[in-house]
């Protein structure tokens, strides 16, 4: 069986959970097995994972799971995986997922690959998994040599479809170990799709000249329903919040569309964004290195080009309702 840890936030399953479940269901179909999902904590909408391919949805509700602790969560996930005889365990490649993956793998004595973005193959009874390395500058195939595999699924690797119907959630009773950490405060900007999950990202750099100019970037992001990001010097000088910083030292993202405005395209910036499916670069310097990594380029002054693009998109959106 393929078990998927379906991450929740504020009592609802996350987008990454729909993706991982759908990914797990496709893997299960190819391997002639079934896919089940596991929810930890008090989520109320786990049943909808059935529509995305989970044959069963298990839920452990326990006050000890109210806030995230990697050790507690890892132990509960590992014990359910063992009980259910899972051969593959999928985790999200989110910040909490990254805290869990190594620990869960050790608890299960499982071969582990992070950031998987393509359905693995089975050859001669072994699982072969493709992954990116060197920040997207290379790929590798890995062979899993253990009875159970732990894989973390990169965001936006698969487009989840509703192909089935809701299932009933089965409560599980599992001993939840007492957490040795205490979450004091969670600060999260509300109402915004977090960067690693965003399908469209509008990002701006030092070419913006001043933080007060960000209105045109936000307008563009607004029509596209995009999340905003920025280059490192922009975050370092406090023009934009730290959690918007993408690149080698910031967040690595893989949206369907990345629009880079007034960003030169330094290699450390590209390291975080070059897995984007389509890249649009707007820069006044035709020699900017970013054009080499772009699919579409516009050489021009961003203060003129960006508002024009926003207008064109508004026209397009109203024509396509």
């Amino acid at each position: 069986m393929i078990l998927v840890y379906a991450e929740t936030q504020d009592g609802k399953v996350k987008k990454s959970a729909l993706e991982s479940v759908y990914f797990g269901a496709k893997m299960a179909a190819a391997q002639g097995t079934s896919c089940a999902a596991l929810i930890l904590g008090d989520s109320t909408d786990g049943g909808r994972l059935g529509a995305y391919g989970a044959k069963e949805v298990f839920q452990v509700s326990d006050p000890g799971l109210a806030s995230f602790d990697s050790q507690t969560f890892a132990k509960v996930i590992a014990s359910v995986a063992t009980d259910k005889g899972a051969t593959v365990l999928l985790l999200p490649d989110s910040s909490n997922g990254k805290s869990l993956t190594g620990m869960v793998a050790v608890l299960l004595k499982a071969g582990v690959i992070t950031g998987v973005n393509k359905l693995p193959e089975v050859k001669d009874g072994k699982l072969y998994v493709e992954r990116a390395l060197f920040s997207g500058k290379a790929f590798a195939t890995c062979r899993i040599d253990s009875a159970i595999a732990v894989l973390s699924v990169a965001g936006n690797s698969i487009k989840p479809q509703q192909e089935g119907s809701e299932v009933a959630v089965t409560p599980l009773s599992v001993t939840v170990p007492v957490s040795k950490t205490k979450v004091i405060e969670v600060k999260r900007s509300v109402g915004i799709v977090p960067l690693p999950e965003a399908e469209i990202v509008v990002s701006a750099g030092r070419g913006m000249k001043d933080p007060s100019n960000w209105g045109i970037v936000e307008d563009l992001a607004g029509v596209l329903g995009a999340t905003t990001a920025c280059s490192r010097p922009v975050a370092d000088s406090g023009w934009r919040p730290h959690h918007e910083h993408v690149g080698q030292t910031g967040i690595a993202i893989r949206p369907n569309l990345y629009i880079a405005i007034g960003i030169s395209g330094a290699i450390q910036h590209l390291a975080g964004v070059n897995s984007s499916k389509v890249i649009v670069v707007i820069n006044k310097d035709p020699e900017a290195p970013f054009f080499k990594a772009a699919d579409y380029g516009v050489v021009g002054d961003l203060f003129e080009v960006v508002p024009k693009l926003t207008e064109s998109l508004k026209k397009f959106k109203s024509a396509h309702h």
């Binding site: 602790d69 990697s70 050790q71 910040s95 990254k98 805290s99 869990l100 993956t101 190594g102 793998a105 050790v106 608890l107 071969g111 582990v112 992070t114 990116a132 060197f134 920040s135 500058k137 290379a138 790929f139 590798a140 195939t141 890995c142 062979r143 040599d145 253990s146 040795k180 950490t181 205490k182 004091i184 405060e185 969670v186 600060k187 999950e197 469209i200 730290h242 959690h243 080698q248 369907n256 569309l257 290699i267 390291a271 499916k277 649009v280 670069v281 054009f291 080499k292 772009a294 699919d295 579409y296 380029g297 516009v298 080009v305 024009k308 693009l309 064109s312 998109l313 026209k315 397009f316």
Partner: protein, 246 residues
Amino acid sequence: MKLLVAISQTPETTARIAFKDGGKAFDPNGVNFIMNPYDEWYALVRALELKEEKGGTVTVIHCGPAANEVTIRKALAIGADDAIRVDIDPDSAYTVAQQIAAHASAAGYDIIFTGKETIDYNGALVGGMLAGLLDLPFISHASKLTFHGDSALVTRDIEGGEEEISLNTPFVISAAKGMAEQRIPNMRGIMSAKTKPLQVVAPVASEGLAIHTDFRVPAAKTAVKMVDPGNMDELVRLLHEEAKVI
């Protein structure tokens, strides 16, 4: 405080990535190697600052061949007190974690630092594995670590924000940007590093479980399509009809 920092060695960020033996191995030809930036700038420096505030020792540990000792000496030059090199090819995160755990289980460290990930394999695994093997709490992507009496207060990056957590030692922490500022080794540091203890230990038995079988570089990107800055309707049309992303 007794502190351990796990340091790895990676190709420099601008290195050209190529493979040899028909895609079976990384080609180190012409590549400069550096200490993994998260380990050097954030994990190591924050450990040194804690030692300066509270007293204690900072030990660095590295799994790798003798050629990597330049990286270990650099960590000593920045200020670590002593170093351990486990003489093994670090072929998987699990191998590395088992080696470090074998050393740390008996040594009684208060905090074990790793970087949030290595910039070559981007696995982000060793820290969590270590915590799993040693049965310790693990905080990943920490951007701040302070002490209030005996309890540590850690800020950790999460999607779209941050989270504040308190816990007591011992624990494992992976360091992200924000934890500290890079320190450049000075002449005195470089001189004293030459005589600081660097112990080479034989590896314990360990297993890989996930093996990289072959490597490749992505196909070259097709040339960028330029769009006239006066014609944004055309860009919108391309994004809709050709790229199909809006």
